[in-house]
Amino acid sequence: MWLVVIFCLLIGLFIGFQIPVSFPVLYAKYMSIAILAALDSVFGGIRAYMEDGFDSTIFATGFVVNALLAAGLAYLGDSLGVDLYLAAVLVFGVRLFQNLAIIRRYLMKKY
């Protein structure tokens, strides 16, 4: 499982660095929020996987929707003049750490 995750991440990074696609600077902020949401989803998925409550559909949709929602929210915040992306950063950051903590406990229990 871990091998798959790390391996796929590395392949993705490699592909990303190889393909000549770059995001416009203007939207880099939304991209980073989307990535944060995606990271959260992935960790959440790993946690669910370890808890044996993993659902492919929830995971996949969560990944896509969370990323889009976070980016859209940040964009909306920018349009309104409210730093809504901070809320996204906070929420996803907190969840990220929670998920990580849970994963760590499971791993400690396991080994």
Partner: protein, 239 residues
């Protein structure tokens, strides 16, 4: 539920995440290399401000150039005016002048009067000086002074008892008329046959005409006051 399905999903998601991360890394790198996002706004703000300042300075430059142009014109006008004023002052006798000219000295007759002779004949009168001054003016004298009193446009030469008044200053013989102009012209003008100088010479007045290369006439020392005369400024001149 550690199915193959879940692993595949996670694998795909991780792949996508990896790609996104890589792209974001690249983007962030280019941002860091060129400008920090936070500074873009700041810089654009300062750019706007600097542009405004530049426009303002450009306008100022234009304005100053116009002013400089005006000043140059005004300077020219001022120089012309100064020139005019100097000329007017010279004509009015308000500045000391120097130049070639003549010195005419007149003194009362030293002849002992014969009985029955009119003593008036041998005396230099105000009208003698007036006539001679007139003669000098006609001969092109540019500045005249009688006994150090510069003749101006408002100067008078008149008799006051035994003395003569010039510029309200009493002068006494010997009278020294200094005139600046072409010495030859002035001298020949005075020495005209039948001229006044000849006449008074015959009458016994002691005269001495001297041509000098350099003569200095003082300025009119009094004050010029105009209580009644008002300058009439022509409209087209004032413009």
């Amino acid at each position: 539920m550690r199915s193959r399905n879940a692993q595949i999903t996670i694998a795909i998601v991780c792949l996508i995440l990896g790609v996104m991360l890589a792209i974001q890394f690249k983007t962030q790198k280019t941002i860091n290399e060129s400008l920090k996002t936070g500074r873009v706004e700041e810089l654009s703000q300062s750019l706007i401000e600097v542009t405004k300042q530049r426009d303002a300075l450009y306008e100022e430059v234009q304005e100053l150039r116009d002013k400089l142009q005006n000043i140059r014109q005004v300077d020219q006008a001022m120089a012309d005016l100064q020139d005019e004023i100097m000329k007017a002052n010279m004509a009015a006798g308000l500045v000391p002048v120097s130049g070639p000219g003549i010195i005419l000295t007149l003194n009362d007759s030293n002849r002992t009067l014969q009985s029955g002779e009119n003593p008036n004949y041998g005396i230099v009168h105000d009208y003698d000086i007036l006539t001679l001054v007139n003669e000098l003016r006609a001969s092109g004298a540019e500045a005249i002074a009688v006994n150090g009193e510069r003749l101006t446009a408002v100067s008078e030469i008149r008799c006051a008892g035994t003395l003569i008044l010039v510029n309200w200053v009493r002068i006494a013989p010997p009278y020294e008329i200094k005139a600046i102009g072409d010495p030859e012209m002035l001298a020949s003008g005075l020495n005209l046959r039948g001229g006044h100088l000849e006449t008074i010479k015959i009458l016994g007045v002691q005269t001495n005409l001297q041509k000098v290369d350099k003569l200095e006439l003082p300025a009119f020392s009094g004050a010029m006051k105009f209580t009644h005369a008002q300058p009439v400024i022509l409209k087209n001149e004032a413009e």
